[in-house]
Symmetry: C2
Subunit: 340 residues, 2 copies
């Protein structure tokens, strides 16, 4: 225990002994491999398979507050990057994690977040193999930002792509929508609202593997983070040039989320999720895919919410509870800053 400070100081970012102590005690002692290097050197037979491709994805996490019901920024950082790999059909292998820490941040908080990251990575079957820490002066960052980058392997012949979506395909989601966005909003405390909401934050690698086994013809998948399910559906409609129709009645929405949205004038279709995805499968494989999702803890609430159609190419429409139809457009700006 060379680390005697209770809060991070600028010395912890200076490249000297203080930095090494912080990194070793708080981060690398929890991550694998124990002797995490500046440069990780890795082998995987999967990458050498003829026709295999490497998948690479990165995300910065700036969520506030850093800890919230159902997770913290570290859990988000692991799950978000695992999910970006998984929805593209990649098997997640390795992660890097870079920390930008504001001077004055509690070291106990960093330890909790690092522990969450180690747990989540283990559960998701990925290894955190390299990292970086920088410390900035008080006021130059807001507590902690984490950037994770993920490397995965896409097995030969697997090709998920929104461009492959065809009329008749079914749109599936793995559970209640908007829980993460609503949780963060409530956790900020500006509203003096008390809810039982928990973030849906979860790693979806195992669920995606199960879906692809049950529905080998799956066209595309995408996790519905910033911009919510509405953004994902619009991107899919645009990339494929088909129309998408969702049924308002079929949308899985918790009463608390609906209530919060009504009070605040928000639309749950645009709320961020961190453990929810949209999977598009051919009609013939829809039941098998739903069954596979429901057999996973992260997919217990899986339902079909709509389908692809030949009409209104590139556009997303929703059939309302009252039988009407409205366009679900992409949001121009943002509903909630720093949701992830």
């Amino acid at each position: 225990m060379a680390l005697r400070d209770s809060h991070v100081t600028l010395a912890h970012g200076g490249g000297g002994k203080a930095m090494r102590d912080l990194i070793e005690e708080v981060f690398t002692s929890l991550f694998q491999p124990p002797g995490m290097e500046d440069q990780a050197r890795l082998t995987s037979a999967a990458l050498a398979a003829p026709g295999a491709r490497l998948a690479l994805t990165t995300d910065s996490f700036v969520v506030t507050p850093l800890e919230f019901p159902g997770g913290d920024i570290g859990k988000l950082a692991i799950c978000g990057t695992v999910n970006d790999l998984a929805v593209g059909g990649a098997e997640p292998l390795w992660l890097s994690a870079a920390f930008i820490i504001e001077e004055g941040t509690e070291i106990a908080l960093l330890r909790r977040i690092a522990a969450t990251m180690a747990d989540e990575a283990r559960a998701a079957g990925v290894r955190i193999v390299t990292g970086d820490t920088k410390v900035v002066e008080r006021g130059a960052a807001d507590g902690l930002f984490i950037t994770t980058t993920g490397v995965g392997v896409i097995p030969p012949g697997r090709e998920l792509s929104a461009a492959a979506i065809r009329p008749g395909d079914r749109l599936l989601v793995n559970g209640g929508l908007g829980d993460h966005g609503a949780t963060i909003l409530a956790a900020r405390g500006d509203l003096a609202l008390s809810t039982d909401l928990q973030s849906d934050c979860a790693a979806l690698g195992h669920l995606m593997a199960a879906v692809l086994k049950a529905a080998p013809g799956a066209r595309a998948a995408r996790d519905a983070t910033r911009g919510g399910v509405a953004a994902v559906l619009n991107e899919m409609a645009e990339a494929s040039g088909v129309g998408l129709v969702i049924e308002e009645e079929a949308l899985p929405l918790r009463a608390e989320v609906v209530g919060l949205c009504e009070i605040l004038g928000l639309d749950p279709l645009y709320l961020a999720n961190e453990g929810r995805l949209v999977v598009v499968v051919p009609e013939a494989e829809a039941e098998a895919a739903l069954g596979a999702m429901r057999a996973c803890p992260e997919g217990a609430g899986a339902v079909a919410i709509g389908r692809a159609v030949a009409d209104h190419p590139g556009q997303v429409r929703m059939t309302t509870r009252f039988g009407g139809s409205r366009i679900v457009d992409m949001l121009v700006g943002e509903q909630l800053p720093r949701i992830c």
Copy 2:
């Protein structure tokens, strides 16, 4: 030109159209491949070679000011990550780039920085294949932070490691020390100093390739960033268990750097560099390695600064101009925050 704003707003981070416009116009239009995806899918025959290993490295850049003589944060972000790959013996292939942007940042500044990144990546022979942007409120970050992660391939049989250093080996550097740290210090303007200093920021992939060709027995290399040459030498001494001796007289130091250090009571051995490395080679290959370095623009000022010895294992000592000897320890804290 869908982007009409002159400054970044929170809407540019919200996952909607405004974010897409910012990303497409400022970043992906300059980076390769033109249709940069959320998840890059990549193939490389080099990765499939039997015995090849994948190298993965990440760094966050928080330098202030964002632009300085000889570079900007974007150049640092490309060079820093290319160098981390190169000094480990990896051939740099792909980069990811994640941007945390403070609300109110000038879009023209982002365009300049993105252009530098594109130019540097092209020159270094790497591709920026995926990225992310987040926007935080005014005051929650200081202008712009960039995190780059690099993937490279280590050819079969190549094994650079500080643990391989043996007594008798020579310590080489590729040019003047401390230019980057001194430049940033002067550029902050607190000192009202006017200098002709330029950051040494440079990508060292081509230089490392030339060194490894000329000196196939090279033991180890390391770029001397935070903590300077002193930190690198101490890490090498510790990892190898040999002693290292450097000659004060041999250190390549610009008069401006020495002057600035004298005024401020700093030691140039601890100043950060962003285009300087320490290479350790067997005595027999030292001249060939120096010749190869000097043939590269980034190595024109290459010199030998010392050697590994059997004495004082794990310790770095400097023979002073006056024939004395002093211990060069690792710094405990930091000399200058936010130098990279």
